[in-house]
Symmetry: C2
Subunit: 614 residues, 2 copies
Amino acid sequence: MESDYGLPRDLSHLQLARSLYKPELPPCLQGTTVRVEFGDATTALDTAGANAISQSFPHTYGQPLAHFLRATSNVPDAQIISDHPAIRVGLVFCGRQSPGGHNVVWGLHEALKIHNPQSTLLGFLGGSEGLFAQRTLQITDDVLATYKNQGGYDLLGRTKDQIRSGDQVNAAMAACNTLKLDGLVIVGGVTSNTDAAYLAEKFHQSQCPTKVVGVPVTLNGDLKNQFVEANVGFDTVCKVGSQLISNLCTDAFSAEKYYYFVRLMGQKASHVALECSLQSHPNMVILAEEVVASKLTIFDITKQICDAVQARAEKEKYHGVILLPEGLIESIPEVNALLQEIHRFLRLGISVDKISSRLSPWASALFQFFPPFIREELLLNPESGESAQLSQIETEKLLAVLVEAEMSKRLKEGTYKGKKFTPICHFMGYQARGSLPSKFDCDYAYVLGHICYHMLSAGLNGYMATVTNLKESLEHWRCGAAPITAMMSVKDYGRASGSMTIGKPVIHHATVDLRGKVYELLKQNATKFLMDDVYRNPGPLQFDGPGADSRTVSLLIQDLDYMGRIKELNMYLDKVRSIVKPGCSQDILKAALSAMSSVTDILSVMSSPTNGSI
Amino acid sequence: MESDYGLPRDLSHLQLARSLYKPELPPCLQGTTVRVEFGDATTALDTAGANAISQSFPHTYGQPLAHFLRATSNVPDAQIISDHPAIRVGLVFCGRQSPGGHNVVWGLHEALKIHNPQSTLLGFLGGSEGLFAQRTLQITDDVLATYKNQGGYDLLGRTKDQIRSGDQVNAAMAACNTLKLDGLVIVGGVTSNTDAAYLAEKFHQSQCPTKVVGVPVTLNGDLKNQFVEANVGFDTVCKVGSQLISNLCTDAFSAEKYYYFVRLMGQKASHVALECSLQSHPNMVILAEEVVASKLTIFDITKQICDAVQARAEKEKYHGVILLPEGLIESIPEVNALLQEIHRFLRLGISVDKISSRLSPWASALFQFFPPFIREELLLNPESGESAQLSQIETEKLLAVLVEAEMSKRLKEGTYKGKKFTPICHFMGYQARGSLPSKFDCDYAYVLGHICYHMLSAGLNGYMATVTNLKESLEHWRCGAAPITAMMSVKDYGRASGSMTIGKPVIHHATVDLRGKVYELLKQNATKFLMDDVYRNPGPLQFDGPGADSRTVSLLIQDLDYMGRIKELNMYLDKVRSIVKPGCSQDILKAALSAMSSVTDILSVMSSPTNGSI
């Protein structure tokens, strides 16, 4: 199998055309010098946990933000790096394949060669296992030729998602030492970037000279925080998903007799389902975050859907489209409790056929209530020892069956008088992941690849590559890097349990913010979506012409560019300093003092730990 | 619900851009005159059945082909129609929604208005039931605005597929009489166009003045014969399907641990599965036509897949993609026999839970062998009294389960030594049907709509609109019309039974020709596809730039343009006549006589009924 990696391949006409597309670089990355400006030292997202985080990361916590600047920009403090020795860099794909991943490799390779043609990029074959086993492929222009702007991770492959255990970390360090790597680039999501931070700290402690940097590539879109506006892959996956959902909407509306239940990717967060809803306007979407917040039971959810079906039937509408994220099932409190029991027994090595008899009476009652196919799926071994195998649990089918039963009951009792309810189920889990990446993801990933070089060139360790102002066109993108530790917290406000847990500092999955603008947009339109069939079709992913440059709604309507605003704030502070110099009038000083003291008072209160959710 | 038809709607950016796209017209349809040239009288596809067909269609059998010519073309016999009274035309969507259907309405409306602004186009609301109930929507530019180049049938909706029973035919006739229609356009596939032919004959017999014409719109692509090269919708559905299959291939190749079993549309014929295979190069495809030809049992098919999995495992490959058409299950001889028994009991009104005990011993054994989910699905009521509910039968899951069991057995017995086989199942039945239509389908449907006007203007009854030379660019398309009876046969070489049956003359579903060029291309590549992972991604449907004008492989590599070649033959015959005029030399006459006698001898033998398959 291994010999298949990075082989040239036959491309379709469109694939070929895409392989010849070359993303632009934002002004700040053009040219052959690297200019980096360091900002203030960073704190952690989770102010209350800052202490714990700094203890876990004595060497890599509190590092400053880094901004990469254009060669001509007039920033006095910027450090200019004009010496570019040949360096050796390794890159590893961690976690699930996301469209655009290949372009990180390409961008990094380009940047390495621009600055020193003697530099070397090694791709680890077969993901983290390839890293541990030191299996590499030297990246060249020839190797890249048929992988530029193409989907999948098949240039290098992937395996496990983790570089975490002592053995794994040591194997990674051995690989970096043996291969004499100056840098190791980890491409992945929340887990992989957390691992990158621990690796960076450990390498520093062990005096391993390899710098470790991360790149936010995950189609779930849940690696979001003030530094990271978007993840590579999310744009593509939402566009492919929306196209299909819209096709189903059109289909439902044409045939007028089916309800489509569609399960989408999104285990820990429902960003994909939310974005697709805003693109396609299906009749209904149930986000895991809503279920957690409202503590809805499976019966509540069933009733909600039944009431919607009934309201539509009263308007002579017997079709509809309902979206669910795959993480929904785990977010339902009683199902989650049942899953926890099952997983405990599985971990104890109790065989599957014995488990149902050992469940607590309450969990057992729920288990027996479920149709056989769901029972079988709930009994599957959890993934990586934590989460259930959500891709295998047919929540859409479960809900369809429960709704069907309830509608029949209502029909019999005479409370529902419409036509028969006919559900059809779909799981859109794998059709999108391998797609040709959208122009946005191609550009974003390529630029991130370039930034990786700049980070390594500036000697950064334990940082993640960042691009901000992404909602604007590429020439306005700002490039930088943020310490990964600044994105960590020890508290988890995650939804599965609905309550807060305290653990090791990690980057947590960013869930849908129910007080945020994106969710608000959905809520404002929910009734219209439900009743009026205002279906909308964003159409298939375009590479030319109308639609080719579209962005996700999630990106467009959020208040982003945190890094840009941090810079703006610094500008204000500098201005105050330059106005209020010794020699200025008493009045000016007094005004400045009063204003600043009130600003600091307000900010102190707002950022006190007791006040702080994220 | 009804008030929702034809409403303006919110369009996405891309939908809006598409709604502003206007297809060109081929030269022969430009201008405001209609010129029609009639060819020779047609015979039937099924020469042996010609007699039976002519008896069923005394008034509409044997009509000549019609060719529509450009206003300036120099054809002496062409009839020029320059009088264009205002006419009233009705249009009805029959059968399943196919991308592009809306453009037939648009093209027809345009052509009507170009030739006489007083003409009226009525769309029947809710398909054939709307026709029977005389529910109409007057088509205007405003109504069309948000439906041009858009998918679905939601402008008018659809219901049942048939206009066949006495009551239905009478209701249709009453509608045409009451609404004073000069023409009725039936948009649909094999069944609907057969109904159109019977309706035309019946209207003529009953002196109803409405002319009935058909348009070949069916995403299955199985309305193919010497007159019809392609069906509206097939291009789009194959492109959307191929994109998703290719995404799965990339996904499989990146993750290297799953076998994807993908069921595609195609109940009576496997054209979609064949075309998608040639686009995406999955590892394996099993066509229903192959199963019929080789009389493969479910165990044969399972073994075939297992052997493939094993061969790949020996090369360390544990992933793959396998395509199946939804009609596969009915093509398996023993399953088909079982389905026939079940359907007989269902027709007798025997309740589902009693059926399994009344099956013949052999059918019962097979039934009991199947996993419970398949048993339930096999017991579903057949569609329209004929075929099983193929969209509901999870053949992909059945095969995945059987292959999994067999691989475990081989593993236990030690004949297979590889890793565990992990299947994941997908059904791509509904995601493609509602897609924005491809440029090809937009153009083709729009042109067919125009042809409908020309047909009605020429007074044709019982004809289907045809465009040939479709593999060339639009300016080379030839437009015409062929009597629907010429596409009929009484023998059915259909695959379900594997044997020939004789019935009423109808258009039969054209199945994949196992001796044809398209299938040959698949066979030539089958081993490479299976073993070498030469996956190819045609990418998402494009409307601009590279790929926007691509055609299906099925269209490109077939010998088509039958109508063009008929014209070419007539040219030869005319030439012979003009050379061999009274007064020519004895030698020339002798040479002509000898050559013509041998040609006619050969053709007589070749076209004798005993020799004749289609």
